[in-house]
């Protein structure tokens, strides 16, 4: 019978080689190869099961939302308003496409900001990349469109770029990177008012982006805004309601100083308005009040109140208050001090960072937080350290535990009391008497 044995073994071995993969999946054991999950940033050998784990789902949602916010802030803004790209800014405007795993640089895009990024996001390869990523990491195939740019949007954007190109070519040597600040004198006011509207909306939606559109004239216009701002408020709300732009000069009966200055700058003001919506929203609305001809600025009542509160809180050049950018600068200085200095601050900040990262679901988290506060108070000397009493017992689960741990503690305390009772009984003075035998007793009594 030894002859028979080798054959079945060999067959079995062959089978096992072929069916190895099947065995893995059938038995469901973790014998698959290790792979790297981009969302969780960890290597796992769980194969396709991994994407259904709650930790992975959490990691994936945060991962995708981060990329999506980048897309919204940067790319969406430029999709609506293509702006010419300066080479010095090109280095900043790069985007890492997480689906295709490569960096989109702006080195060559001639016409608009993040041109390469938009082109990539609209391309077919990117679509493929998105599909495969979502399939691999289980993101939900319906979300595909939020991570790419559709062809219609892309064509619209391209048209806008072309327009911009032609404008730039025809409009002369303005070449300013300030897109919205086109040459004012060449265009009619109505066009300008409309585009201002769009700009305002864009800026409101993507506030962050405004800060990137660096404008050299910022200083002057803020000053102007302050002056005009103060003027408006002193004159009163009527002017805002009237909303007459150029006619402001005629309306102000008090002969405000700098009126001519105002008039001169009313042309330049609206275009600069959107760029400054970021530092001070109220001021944008004030521009609206001045500059936009016969338009009623919408929601003026709310703006008024906002302006007035600002006016009350701030002060102006004439009252001798510091300009708003100084208060910002003070904050920056303070921040620098904080960053540079004090070891205590840094360490405590570090500790705070650590605690904020600790899992709130860890064992005894609530107790730990309370205890930390107590210890801090004790350190400061505010809270006198009070002993918890000799009877304090920690949370302990006994060996033969049937209920919760509190029950076990109570049980123990109850047992402890019985022990003590027993002890005390034992401690009661027992009067020891020597043993007297009956004979002895009878002898005694007899005696």
């Amino acid at each position: 019978m030894p002859i028979q044995n080798p054959n079945p073994n060999k067959k079995k071995k062959k089978h096992s080689n072929q069916d190895d993969d099947e065995d893995d999946t059938v038995q469901g054991k973790q014998r698959t190869q290790f792979e790297f999950c981009k969302a969780c940033r960890l290597n796992h050998n769980q194969g396709r099961r991994h994407i259904y784990f709650p930790n992975h789902k959490k990691a994936l949602s945060s991962f995708l939302s981060r990329f999506q916010s980048k897309l919204k802030n940067d790319v969406a803004f430029y999709l609506k308003k293509p702006m010419p790209l300066r080479p010095e800014h090109a280095a900043l405007n790069r985007l890492w496409c997480v689906f295709c795993d490569f960096d989109i640089l702006e080195s060559d895009s001639s016409f608009a900001c993040s041109g390469n990024a938009i082109a990539h996001l609209a391309s077919a390869e990117h679509l493929k990349g998105v599909k495969s990523f979502l399939w691999k990491y289980g993101g939900g195939m319906d979300r595909m469109d939020s991570f790419r740019i559709s062809e219609s949007d892309f064509t619209k954007w391209e048209k806008k770029c072309k327009l911009l190109k032609s404008e730039a070519a025809g409009g002369g040597s303005h070449g300013s990177l300030i897109g919205p600040l086109n040459d004012i004198h060449n265009e009619s006011k109505s066009e300008y008012v409309n585009s201002f509207d769009k700009n305002k909306l864009d800026c409101l939606t993507s506030d962050v982006k405004c800060s990137n559109s660096v404008v050299p004239l910022q200083d002057h216009t803020i000053e102007r805004s302050q002056i005009s701002h103060s003027k408006i408020c002193t004159v009163g709300p009527q002017i805002l309601h009237a909303g007459t732009g150029v006619g402001l000069g005629a309306r102000t009966p008090n002969g405000l100083p700098g009126f001519f200055g105002n008039q001169h700058y009313t042309h330049s003001v609206p275009k600069e308005g959107p760029a400054y919506s970021c530092p001070n929203d109220g001021k944008v609305y004030s521009y609206e009040g001045i500059a936009i001809g016969d338009r009623h600025s919408q929601g003026t009542s709310s703006e008024e109140s906002r302006l007035q509160t600002q006016e009350n809180g701030g002060g102006n050049v004439h009252s001798g208050a510091p300009p708003p950018w100084f208060s910002a600068a003070e904050k920056i200085q303070l921040d620098n001090k904080l960053n540079q200095g004090l070891g205590d601050l840094v360490s405590s900040l570090g500790e705070q960072m650590k605690t904020s990262k600790l899992n709130p679901k860890r064992v005894g988290a609530a107790w730990a937080e309370r205890r930390k506060i107590e210890l801090e108070l004790e350190k400061r000397g505010e809270l006198v350290r009070h002993d918890f009493g000799a009877d304090w017992l920690p949370n302990f689960g006994r060996v033969w535990q049937s209920g919760s741990r509190k029950d076990s503690r109570k049980e123990f305390l109850g047992e402890n009391k019985t022990w003590r009772k027993v002890d005390s009984q034992i401690e009661k003075p027992s009067q020891f008497q020597p043993y007297i035998s009956k004979r002895m007793r009878t002898d005694n009594t007899a005696e």
Binding site: K361, R362, V363, G364, W367, R371, L393, F412
Partner: protein, 151 residues
């Protein structure tokens, strides 16, 4: 007995130890200094204290002291040495394959075993689990017979 770690003899000391160890595993070893196995355990602990210092504190408790008898009864300590684990004043249980999950009885065969055990406790505690499974294979766990309640 210079080579022993910080030995606690009073209940109040033990209490303060438990209450002051925040977000770290507290390893309390109950034993008597005259016991050789306890001394071996102490040796291993002494070698590893510094390495686990970021996430664990180790302390020894003398069983023979009167003040601590409450704890000896509360934790049902009958075999020496016994090690009880705490995290944020909550008791951590560990399933080592024996019947008693509330404590670790005996010494550790290697320093690495101790480190593995404390790490497992810490990981479980950070995830919010009050009971964890022992990472050691059964042959590395010292065996003992559990005394029953009535005995």
């Amino acid at each position: 007995m210079n080579y022993l770690l910080t030995t606690l003899t009073k209940k109040q000391e033990v209490d303060s130890m438990i209450r002051d160890t925040i977000d770290k595993v507290l390893v309390l070893c109950f034993g008597r200094a005259s016991d050789s196995i306890f001394l071996q355990l102490d040796e291993i602990l002494y070698k590893s204290v510094r390495e686990v210092s970021k996430f664990a504190t180790v302390a020894l408790v003398d069983i023979d002291s009167d003040d601590v008898q409450v704890y000896v009864k509360y934790f049902d300590i009958t075999l020496i040495p016994s090690t009880v684990f705490f995290f944020n004043a909550h008791h951590m249980k560990m399933d080592c394959g024996s019947a008693d999950h509330t404590k670790w009885v005996g010494t550790f065969l290697r320093k690495q075993d101790f480190l593995d055990v404390v790490e497992a406790i810490y990981r479980g505690a950070m995830k919010g689990k009050l009971i964890v499974t022992c990472p050691l294979p059964p042959d590395r766990i010292p065996k003992f017979h559990l005394l029953y309640e009535d005995v």
